[in-house]
Amino acid sequence: MERAKTIALLAGLGCFLLAAVLTIYLPVAHLAKIEYKSLDQIAPEPSFDFIDLSKRYPAQFQKYYGEPTKEAFHEALKLGRDQYIAEACWHCHSQFVRPVSNEDRRFGKVSWADEYRNEMFLPHLFGTRRVGPDLIRESGKHGNDWHVAHFYDPRLVTPQSVMPRYTWFFDGEEPNKVGIAMITYMQWLGSWTTPEVMAREAKAAAAAGGKKDG
């Protein structure tokens, strides 16, 4: 028992593998029963907010994204997610609503596993700290103009905010490529829980012959 080889095998490998099976393999295999969705499946068409941005900032939009097509929308979503990671937004904003502590009343629908089984949550961005509010139900809570002002200087719209200014999301006073991407991403988070999208998905599921509840 006291020898290096035994310790390396039993404690080092053995205990680690046991834990890997119990705390990783089991939940991961369990969750893998949910269908994994690509970006094409979860974002089949450009969002209302993305098109709205193309009208609000036509010159900037034209310069960085051209037309508000599906491809441009996907590019913006991915860039927004990447910038969200680069700025460590997820260190101050979580992306899941817990079924306790009145969180559904504050933020909206409680999170469920299916909504995270897709390309946009690889890696997941659950977060472990809330300096600011949760963002997984952010879609549609504020307008695009609010987000523009808020990224430029959060204290313009929320005087007590401690969020930093993100002036590098802007060319002058208009959002640049990253700025448009960030707002598109913010407005996408939780967009699948809006009544229209949920009705559309239920319809599609019914057409496919499957049974699906909200």
């Binding site: 949550f121 890696p123 997941h124």
Partner: protein, 474 residues
Amino acid sequence: MSAAAAVAVSPAAIQGTLIDKPMIKAHMAFGFLFFIVALLAGLLYGLQLTNIYPFPGIELLSPGRIRMLHTNAVAFGFLINVFIAMLHWVVPRLTGHPMLHPMLSRLILVAWQLVVAATAVGILAGYAQAIEWGETPLLVDHFAVLGVALLVINVGSSIWKTGGKKLYVTLWYFTAMLIWTPLVYIMGNYLPQYFVPGAGGAAITGVYIHDLVGLSVTPLGWGMMYYFVPVLLEKPIWSHTLSILGFWGLAFFYPLNGVHHFFYSPIPMYAQYGAVVSTIAVELVVFTVIINFFMTLRGRGDRLRTSMATRWFFVGMVNYFITCLQCAFHTTLTFQKVIHFTDWVVGHAHLVMLGVFGFWLVGGIVYMWPKVTGREWWSQKLLGWTFWTSVIGLVIMFIDLTACGLVQGYMWIGLAQWEKTLAASMPFWHARTFAGSLITLGMCLQAYNMWMTARSPAPASKPADAPSGATAPV
């Protein structure tokens, strides 16, 4: 020493090629340099959180990026570096074999500093990875894995050469750590990035955050304590049976805890319940270890007054006890409703990373630095100042953030307007910045003290490895 027939190493051998003193010195110096960087980053982040921007409008110094610099510089710059220095000191003494090759040690030294520097630059430039405590840019991750692999070979060979000999408990911890660290790092940094999305990925990153502490830092820390405490107190550890019990308890229960970072998330509930039970089990294991060390201290309590290193070690152990006791409570789902997402958790993290492992490593530096530089401490008085400013700063920070977390948690449950909860947090955040500056001040004094010690003229007599005879190998 029945269960731990440690290899006797003659002092003469230690004077010779067994111990690679320049490596110890270099790893400690770099480790402390990154520690100062981490503290300054933490201070800057604390100020920015209260809307005080000393350098406004600079993209590279944006709070989110500074926060990641802070945590990563602590983990990979400070902790790992000084732990490597400690391994250079302890492992050859216990095994009787030097590290595999001096050149390999030097390669690891240089490679690791490059990894840490590249991580810092990458994070500030916006290439961070969204894995908590693994924000190391993906490109750098590959090199970090390589660096860890080299370290495993370098240190592992020394332990491997003991062959069928029985090992002292310190080496049990180090042996297992050498297996765990690369597994944990690879699992945490690659699986959620490429293969496992959403809630499954969260289960993995939870295990990663937890295991980086539990399966790398903790076994290094306890292995270090099991070596240094008996040496400094000049008596054997109170119970070898308990020490082995503590080891197996850690090995079995600690890796099962990870999911407790994401309670009430869409991770299947059975995994969450399992994490509650195993986390409380770890607490019981920790009791056995703490009891062992405090029983060892019995009859030598005056050393807390006379030996600065012993003092750092045991203050760290008191903090460890508080951390783990706290953990047994806040891992319950009842506590989670209130304290999750709040500053309570931040206070907990500071108590364990600085108050326990940071303090132990500073204690280790206080003990080893004069011996590797061949000079007495430039200023004993400054050592005292470092100790008191750091301890007072840490205690203020811990109490402050814990209270702040409770305020935030209950205000959120009460559906207070979000801005109101920020206003309520603000006084606590100012106090935290104050506490942080005390700690930063203390550690800057320590850095100055280390610098002046190394620069002071060498003593006339031949620098002895063990000036007071206190370093007699186990």
